[in-house]
């Protein structure tokens, strides 16, 4: 206010300091800001026929949300105590409680960080979640292509475009003196061949999601196996007992049907035969050039005993990080909303923390002139708390129940 | 000088009304009378509002001119009159609040049914459309089939049109939501019967567009992700402009297409022609190319 403190308040208006009135008005605008987000979330939720609600799929951790609610509530309480202490002129106490608030704010962000990390680890990120099987397959195709291109660029020097370089991979491998590099180039050649076959089937649209999944798994196990008898077999190599069938839930009948379907198209590669434990299994691919010049690939499962194997060179290790992602219809929208709302809330937490830094920096010099500051930043902090009070049930508990 | 300004402010509304009166003569008016019954109702509504607003316009401008003239007279050097010390009139406020309120409420309520007929799905002229499909076009129909006659998909920067095809016996099939192998396709050329209301599915393949038939007074945005039914009825046969009315990118102005309203027989013949072209087995290549050139 403009007048000297000695004068009576001559201005018209509310019995509030300007700063507090301004803060309340500002909070009004903030309410509208979050209304836009929360309203968007609610209407998009109802407007989407299948919002992902299974916390196992979305990697929402209710304990994290609940703990964070508690943390924020406690920090809100500490701010109030700090404000009371300021009013009671107990500045030491006020400082201590502000510091406690600050600590809890850090704790909040830490827990939030753990949650975010879970999402990043499982690629629950906006724009990265396939929502139909086709998208899932296309996405993995893109990732494989990215891997092939990147590796090619790394291994084959020069300014040529990648597709030219790819043609030169085998030549390079023949020319190079460095055995290490030769092996890398050979590996690349094998992976590229597998990838090209995969891609051809994707563009021909003959690949179902689970088949694609098997393909990728085979690719992960791609290896060059040298046998004791001197033979060298290249293919998907499964050294242990056959991994448990990922699609056990589908029942025999369906599996049979698929089998039949594949046999029709002349591909028997996808379903591993049942073999005893401790047996090695490798899928051998032979390509023959037919009369009309087209390359025909046939696949055959080879069963080996451990004693047959002399040396195994794992080729697929390089692409083991590439998986087909879970199909989550409306997962991108979920991820977008989640990160938007929690992200902007986190930004507000940071702003609130910044507000508390100033009185904290005063240390023992904290005095009555900071009372308004503490009160107003306290109001702001309570608002941050309020937002979270609504975000917690809306994001963590309600979905799937309405 | 003040008289000049008084005349200045009085003159321009007169000029404005004069321009509006002569404009239709120069073709600066509607692109022809509305060519659809709904369009005629829209035009009627337009003229009704035009009359109300013109009367209000004339009234307020006369009022403004009057107060300016009397004000100017009061400032003459020989009239040393003070301004009228008045803070307003309660009666006048009530009158000029309540009277416009009734007029506005009337306008608001009067037009509701036109809007409802145009957009509310239950009020679409289903029976007439059904009649056209089963009797006019001899389409074999189940009860569950929808009544769309074409699907219009907007894309940058053209209109793609999908019609239902014919079965083996040469009967017109209903249009399915999903594309069928029998479907017929065309671009920027929408043919529809003129004898009864017809309905299309409006879709967008990329961004938002707007399906605008100026002569029929039809406009509906094609919203990405939505399938919007649009119905209209051309009262007479002929060609009508079809344009895009929602900014859709740099080529927005280029989305020029036409609607051809024709008789049922001509429409069927057009579809048969499309069918012949599309399922031409390619034996006589030269001939088919000529066809396309036409």
């Amino acid at each position: 206010m403009s007048h000297a403190p000695a004068k009576p308040a001559v201005h018209m208006g509310l019995p509030l300091p300007n700063s507090k009135l301004g803060m309340w008005l500002f909070l009004g605008t903030e309410i509208m800001f979050f209304t836009a987000f929360i309203g968007t979330y609610i209407v998009l939720y109802f407007g989407s026929p299948g919002w992902p609600t299974d916390n196992n799929i979305t990697h929402l951790k209710i304990w994290a949300g609940g703990t964070n609610t508690f943390v924020l509530l406690a920090s809100s309480y500490f701010v109030v105590v700090a404000h009371e202490a300021m009013a009671a002129k107990n500045y030491k106490k006020a400082w201590n409680f502000l510091a406690l608030t600050m600590t809890l704010a850090f704790l909040f962000l830490g827990i939030k960080g753990i949650e975010y990390k879970g999402k990043f680890d499982h690629h629950i990120l906006p724009g990265q979640i396939p929502e139909t099987s086709l998208q899932a397959i296309r996405q993995v195709e893109g990732k494989l292509e990215g891997y092939v291109n990147e590796t090619t660029d790394r291994l084959v020097p020069g300014d040529d475009p990648v597709h030219i370089k790819l043609l030169n991979v085998s030549t390079e491998a023949g020319e190079t003196k460095d055995p290490d590099k030769k092996r890398q180039l050979d590996d690349l050649g094998l992976i590229t061949a597998e990838f090209n076959r995969f891609r051809a089937e994707v563009s021909a649209n003959t690949l179902e999601l689970e088949e694609a999944q098997q393909r990728i798994e085979n690719l992960h196990h791609l290896a060059v196996v040298k046998l004791k008898d001197g033979r060298e077999i290249t293919g998907a190599y499964f050294p242990e007992e056959p991994p448990k069938d990922a699609h056990a839930g589908h029942g025999e009948a369906e599996g049979e049907a698929k089998h039949a379907h594949r046999r029709e198209t002349g591909d028997v590669s996808l379903h591993r035969p049942e073999v005893a434990k401790e047996t090695r299994l490798i899928l051998e691919s032979n390509s023959n050039t037919a009369e009309d010049g087209s390359v025909q690939v046939s696949h055959q499962w080879v069963v080996l005993s451990p004693g047959d194997v002399e040396e195994v060179h794992h080729v697929g290790e390089g692409v083991e990080h590439i998986h087909i992602q879970s199909v989550i219809p409306y997962g991108n929208l979920f991820a977008s909303m989640y990160f938007l709302m929690t992200g902007f809330h986190a930004i507000h937490v940071l702003v609130g923390m910044t507000l508390f830094v100033f009185p904290l920096l005063r240390g023992s010099r904290l005095d009555a002139s900071w009372a308004d500051w503490v009160e107003n930043s306290g109001l702001y902090w309570h608002f941050v708390d309020l937002v979270w009070i609504f975000l917690f049930p809306l994001l963590y508990i309600v979905p799937g129940n309405i | 000088m003040k008289w000049f300004w008084c005349l200045f402010f009085a003159f321009w509304p007169i000029l404005g009304i004069a321009v509006c009166l002569v404009a239709p003569g120069y073709g600066w008016w509607f692109p022809g009378p509305a060519a659809s019954p709904l369009g005629q109702r829209i035009d009627d509504l337009f003229y009704m509002i035009l009359i109300i607003t013109t009367l209000t316009f004339i009234g307020t401008q006369i009022g403004l001119a009057y107060v300016l003239f009397t004000g100017a007279r009061r400032t003459d050097p020989d009239v040393q009159e003070k301004a009228w010390f008045s803070h307003g009139s309660h009666e006048l406020e009530v009158i000029w609040s309540v009277a416009p309120a009734f007029i506005l409420l009337f306008i608001a309520l009067y037009q509701l049914d036109v809007w409802a007929d145009y957009r509310v799905k239950d009020l679409f002229p289903h029976e007439k459309m059904e009649g056209l499909l089963s009797e006019g076009l001899h389409q074999k129909r189940d009860e569950h089939d929808n009544m769309h006659l074409a699907e219009v998909t907007a894309r940058q920067f053209e209109w793609r049109i999908r019609y239902p095809g014919f079965d083996e016996d040469g009967n017109l099939l209903p249009l399915e939501r999903e594309p069928q192998p029998t479907d017929l396709y065309d671009v920027n050329d929408l043919h529809l019967p003129a004898s009864a209301p017809v309905m299309i599915m409006l879709k967008s393949q990329d961004v938002q567009h707007s399906f605008f038939l100026p002569e029929l007074r039809v406009k509906q945005d094609a919203v990405p992700g939505l399938v919007i039914p649009v119905w209209f009825e051309a009262t007479k046969k002929g060609e009508y402009a079809l344009t895009c009315a929602e900014l859709c990118g740099w080529g927005h102005y280029k989305m020029k297409a036409r609607l051809v309203a024709e008789s049922d027989e001509e429409f069927l013949e057009y579809l048969r022609e499309l069918h012949r072209k599309q399922f031409f087995d390619g034996v006589v290549e030269a001939e088919s190319e000529e066809d396309e050139d036409e």
Partner: protein, 143 residues
């Protein structure tokens, strides 16, 4: 904000309000949080609508606690209604106005995943999702 002149005003104001046991409020808030978590734990046993209603009611109760006591609204003048009422009306009104267009589709919603969710794949999706997920876990565990 830190002008000294404000102090007289705000302190005078502070002195007028009553003593509040903030710790009790804090405990009440914690209990509320516990209740909403319990709602989630006993998901199966409660009707869904009751669960949503309950959880949101708890949230509103918590919000009211924070606003009335922590934000001192209980002790403020009538201006609080003037600032908060329009905000509340607008906030709720915006959502209500959005609902007919966004939440209920008057026109057909046309998107690939609609077919995937609502159509032939509906059951399959649920299953594959689950199995993919477990496989996912497995793979990650394996490394």
């Amino acid at each position: 904000m830190s002008e000294i002149s404000h102090d007289t005003g705000s302190h005078a104001h502070d002195d007028t309000h009553h003593y509040v046991n903030y710790f009790l409020i804090f405990i009440a808030l914690c209990i509320c949080t516990g209740i909403s978590v319990l709602f989630d734990v006993f998901k199966g046993g409660i009707p869904k609508s009751a669960l949503v209603f309950g959880v949101m009611a708890v949230a509103v109760a918590k919000a009211l606690f924070v606003m009335t006591y922590f934000m001192h609204l209980k002790f403020e003048g009538a201006w609080k209604f003037i600032i908060l009422a329009p905000t509340a009306i607008l906030a709720v009104g915006l959502m209500i106005a959005l609902a007919p267009d966004m939440a209920m589709h008057y026109y057909t919603n046309d998107a690939p995943q609609v077919k995937w969710v609502g159509g032939e794949h509906a059951e399959e999706v649920a299953e594959t999702e689950h199995s993919e997920h477990s496989e996912h876990q497995h793979e990650h565990g394996g490394h």
